[in-house]
Symmetry: C2
Subunit: 177 residues, 2 copies
């Protein structure tokens, strides 16, 4: 049975603060695409930090390079007909624009996972905000390092308003619609 591959090779780029819900929504999206017979891979920022980008820190230069590598992996996949779902904080608008340009001619769908800082701080799934408060972590996005929200994302998901499965369906509608 030959595999179904899409020819439009979109790149789904989820950006937002730490704890916003990027990985949760991204994972659910990948599963949903697979059920539709579409090949998809999650390119998760936390995982990149552990392996591909383990040599990088959190300076502005290293954050640029981190996002550049994530985009390069996404483009490699999209060119082979696989839908990459990138879940990276990617705090700088310029880096996301560079990623978008590098994706051409693939569609680049920027999804802003828009969760307010205070909500992320309360959720704190990885106990990172706690470590920021205690001074253990510095240069943390949204607190002591910048996050530049997308001005014109293809889609904005307010996670306080939508359940994960609803968010996934909204993204899917945009991708397949």
């Amino acid at each position: 049975m030959p595999e179904q591959r899409t020819s439009s090779c979109p790149i789904l780029w989820l950006t937002g603060l730490s704890g916003a819900g990027k990985t949760t929504i991204g994972s659910a999206l990948v599963k949903r695409l697979l059920l539709l017979g579409l090949t998809s891979v999650l390119v998760d920022g936390d995982e990149l930090r552990q392996h591909l980008c383990q040599d990088l820190g959190f300076s502005a230069a290293d954050r640029h390079e981190n996002v550049r590598r994530g985009a390069a992996v996404a483009v490699l996949l999209a060119r082979q007909g696989i839908i990459p779902v990138v879940a990276m904080i990617s705090p700088y608008a310029e880096d996301r624009l560079t990623a978008r340009r590098s994706a051409f001619p693939c569609r680049f769908i920027e999804v802003y996972i828009d969760t307010p800082l205070e909500v992320c701080r309360i959720r704190d799934p990885k106990r990172l905000y706690q470590r920021v408060s205690s001074g253990e972590i510095t240069a943390f996005t949204g607190v002591s390092a910048p996050y530049e929200p997308p001005a014109e994302p293809e889609l904005r998901i307010k996670t306080e308003e939508y359940a994960v499965d609803v968010a996934v369906e909204r993204i899917l509608t945009l991708v397949l619609g």
Copy 2:
């Protein structure tokens, strides 16, 4: 129609000199796996050099880092049930061993694309050996930079003896058992 994914997530690692036939065999292998309903991605050294690894040169340190990144991409894919076919010169035995270790618990299948230097030099598909001869390129693997052939690869393909499709079938037999 849910996609077929393998649970054994092997990584196919093709190593050999420039011009040995890694990309040719790797591309054919990816197509063949797709026809079998298995999801596969080519992680090609030349493509990595153009994008993901564009910041790297050809010093020993940069070659280590280049192979490390190729392995990291492969592991990311294999962990999501996609079969990466890595086509990289990967001249150092130690780097290939590190890649193998990083792949665990995925199977790491090292395939030595064993084409003699003189044959690669005659084929010279990218006119690189010509540029080495003219002195335009230095530190070229097999000529002015080391290539450490695998001592115990899972498979050795002598491209002078096998046509591409035969090579692909030999690799497939090893993968699918």
